[in-house]
Symmetry: C2
Subunit: 230 residues, 2 copies
Amino acid sequence: MKISIIGTGNVGQTLAASLADLGHEVIIGTRDVSKKLAEVDKDASGNPPFADWHKAYSKVKLDTFPNAASFGEIVINAVHGGSSLDALKMAGASNLKGKILIDIANPLDFSKGMPPSLIPQLSNTWSLGEEIQKTFPETRVVKTLNTMWCGLMVNPALIGGGNHLNYLAGNDATAKEKVIELLQEFGWRKENLIDLGDITGARASESVLLIWVRLWGVLPHGPFNFNIVR
Amino acid sequence: MKISIIGTGNVGQTLAASLADLGHEVIIGTRDVSKKLAEVDKDASGNPPFADWHKAYSKVKLDTFPNAASFGEIVINAVHGGSSLDALKMAGASNLKGKILIDIANPLDFSKGMPPSLIPQLSNTWSLGEEIQKTFPETRVVKTLNTMWCGLMVNPALIGGGNHLNYLAGNDATAKEKVIELLQEFGWRKENLIDLGDITGARASESVLLIWVRLWGVLPHGPFNFNIVR
């Protein structure tokens, strides 16, 4: 399948590498291709420059936001939550029209110190997922994978035998079914994929970040996720 | 131990019954004792009137908020989140001074329809737990047990062999240690009690309600809680 990833950071790279390894045609979108490839410094999180990663994954194409969005049958938003809307607007509504947009971003607000809170106007009674769906009404937004470290998104078997939670929220049932198929390629078991209903469910899954960032601070080092006990 | 419960609802009753069965001296506080005992209708959630429950648990005393708060060595806030501050102010700062206040309430906002959201000024960058601690600076507030159905609070063994999560947050380490001892009487295992740090951790544990109420709507009927997979 042709899959576009909007965002060149660690999360976008992790998804791109895994999807390419699974045999998909993957393109990553960025604001400025030559500038991105010319970067030589580590990013804010200490990850090596994009070009270093790209040497190992040259089968993943890099192009502008609009060209990348135009290429994919499915588009994945892997841009920081606070920049997602700008990036998607640059990608262009016409390039996203009718497509499934998997939104894995979170509206984290680092402006008030650590741990981050959520951007006030995109939390509690609203969400980034809803804002994206409202901004691109002809795109089928599915919120998923946003409640964990990116290494777990593409390889849930890393912990607990893969038996832990991933939520979905979106208005289009067919789109969610397609996304579930893709998630199963990563190793997600259907019984661990919880459908929260329409895109308002993004309010709930994005809010998980508030407890996630606290636990990230107090738990012993290593990937973790939640499971439901009943 | 002498334990006061502020709030006569289903949650307060469940805690009172369990604590009395464990051998504690328990008193429940209410606004108006004779009015509470005279109620004959079910409450908004369909629970029988307080007097019906009280017949089976007459060893639990019922008294005014101030008298109840004055009695206990530990006080438990089991009033709805939106009414907690009013009730605790009626109980009186002098009656709560120096004491451990276990806050199990959540600032749920039902005014915008179902599922509830959180009261805006008590969420994300602030919390009910913090507001209570700020209002009663000489009381040692410990936020805990607020992320589950009340039946699980007092009997975690009901599901998953008792192997699921309960968070604590509070500024006083000694108070948290005392609360952990009480939680262990209910059957909580120490390894499942996650200390989120100071009372700002209440922002995180209260936010769990946003995903909890969604899951309550989509999961098969029955009690549930979360566990950490790592």
